[in-house]
Amino acid sequence: MLSFLIRRLLQTIPTVLAVVLLVFVLFSVVPGSIASTMSDDADPQVELRLKKQLGLDDPVYLRFGTYVARLATGNLGASFRTREPVTTMIAKRAWPTLQLIFASMAFAVVLGVPLGFVAALRPGGIVDSAAMVLAVSGLSLAKFWLGLLLMYLFALKLGWLPSFGYGDGGGKYLILPAVTLGVSPMALLARTTRAAVLEIMTADFVRTARSKGMSEVRVVKWHVMRNALVLILTTMGLQFGALMGQAVVVEKLFSWPGIGSLLVDSVLQRDIPAVQGSILVVVLFFLAINLLIDLLYGVIDPRIRYA
């Protein structure tokens, strides 16, 4: 188990390096630079000094070399913009993003999985049709539009929830962004769950269970759920990646102080170390979640063993 963990962790290194290289190469050819975004009309002398100070004049391979060398010591460099260490910057942003992502996933699971189950138990029925129309609709909405509509409805018209911000860090601030972000994984989970349950319901071992004289409820409880979980977990793992992407939009819309909004700002302002660092952290997060999910597979599915 431990050696499995270590091996998996080692396996992520090439991915991480590739990400670093990719982002580095991309942003070494990106037009515009931090210096030009500092203000509309900056002092050209200061700008030149700034470029020099930030090493923007060095050749790419040199910059990359220094970056990787520093990275090896866990140093993500200093932000061009704030001159703070990127690690500190990200550390401050990580918790809000984690809150948001996990809250959305929780919303998605709590709503999506039961919905999928209910739909699958009577395929073609009214509940099924309604649930699936809902699910497909959830997938088809532009996130920021949905967020705005929710904001408009629940904050302004109904006055139930605050419309923006991290507030005092309290849960009520989390609800609208989490729901906005959670709608599409919810929809996907509902569909996956439904499909998984339907598929499993046709499996031979379900027929065996029925031949034992088991009621349908028991069949589902004893034999279908756990099998479905494997498929549901897979979808969840992949959805975490999509969530990290969509978080960029949602965080920006709701002024949520997470990595996503940091990332957009950094991209737009050419704060390359911050971009690099944020993407790296997002990737690491995705890899970590999927590692976790792999471990969970082992718990759920005995066919998978970590030798």
Binding site: F205, K212, P302
Partner: protein, 326 residues
């Protein structure tokens, strides 16, 4: 044997709803099984053996359904019983073994638990007791070290072991009837021999009747006292197994027996050209009129093409469904 039959199937018809219309996937199926008897049902792939078996324990799922006919278990009609009453029978009084031991067991549940479920469902045991009983059940199907094996998952067992587990599940509650749907098709011959012997011995000990389904004539002949041969949804011949292959009455049975390259026949008779049955097995949606075997039958006459033959009861016992039977 004079006792009232354990299972009586009369004129069973199974409908297949293919969206546009209903076709009979099986029809006019009648047979009886007495207590403790071994009864065989043979036929080629798709002739309706499995659906007949499933209909007996109420496991047909749409698009299949029982169209008409009566199924009596211990004299009681069971095809219209409530779902709950059917569940009481299922597994408890009538048990079933399936073909694919790999997929018929839940891959994520330990085999011990899958056996124990039977005791919880039908004997009102607690899980604790049930687990204990599961060990015994596993021991009874001669799985070595059963107290360890109960914790194994299906994928950790070989095919033969899995099928033993299936048998343990099926026999857990001491059913009166065991339906074995091709229990050894997926296994190698040497393993098949063991499983069949095991099943036969256990059932003999407990007085459990067996409905043995197979496409292997040799196997059925060996295991069963009486055999029914199905073709295209109908039983065409039903006889004692000693007679049916030695002196087949129906041209189809005859054709099957003749077409098989039997072990030892080349040594005895030299290599002769195998007798073929012409043509192909008809599709369920395009069964021919009259006798369904008529397009492939050398003896077919006009009547065969128009009228479905009725069951002729033979003097020597059994029945045959042929206008021209021997």
């Amino acid at each position: 044997m004079t006792a009232a039959p354990l299972l009586e199937v009369e004129d069973l018809r199974i409908d297949l709803d293919d969206g546009a219309r209903r076709v009979a996937a099986a029809e006019g199926v009648s047979f009886r099984i007495s207590r403790g008897e071994t009864f065989g049902l043979v036929g080629e792939s798709g002739c309706g053996k499995s659906i007949t078996a499933l209909s007996l324990i109420g496991l047909l799922r749409p698009p299949l359904s029982i169209g008409s006919g009566v199924i009596r278990f211990e004299g009681r009609e069971i095809q219209h019983l409530s779902a709950a009453a059917q569940r009481d029978l299922r597994g408890n009084r009538i048990a079933m073994i399936f073909q694919e031991p790999m997929t018929a067991l839940n891959p994520v549940s330990p085999v011990g638990r899958q056996i124990a479920e039977m005791f919880v469902l039908h004997k009102g045991k607690s899980w604790r007791e049930a687990n204990q009983l599961a060990v015994e059940a596993l021991a009874s199907v001669r799985v070595p070290a059963p107290e360890r094996r109960v914790h194994d998952y299906p994928h950790q067992l070989s095919g033969g072991m899995r099928q033993r587990v299936m048998i343990a599940i099926a026999l857990a509650c001491g059913p009166d009837l065991l339906i074995a749907d091709e229990p050894t098709t997926a296994l190698d011959v040497t393993v098949q021999a063991e499983i069949i012997e095991l099943m036969r011995n256990l059932c003999a000990e407990r007085g459990t009747a067996i409905l043995m389904i197979s496409h292997d004539l040799g196997l059925v002949a060996n295991v069963c006292r009486r055999v029914a041969v199905m073709y295209a949804g109908r039983i065409v011949e039903e006889r004692g197994s000693a007679d049916i292959f030695r002196a087949p009455a129906h041209p189809y049975t005859q054709g099957l027996v003749d077409s098989l390259p039997r072990l030892g026949s080349r040594a005895a008779l030299g290599r002769t050209r195998l007798k073929e049955i012409a043509g192909v097995v008809p599709a369920i949606t395009s069964f021919p009129d009259g006798c369904r075997f008529n397009p492939r039958c050398a003896q077919a006459s006009d009547i065969c093409r128009t009228n479905a033959p009725t069951a002729d009861f033979l003097e020597a016992g059994g029945l045959v469904r042929c206008h021209h039977h021997a």
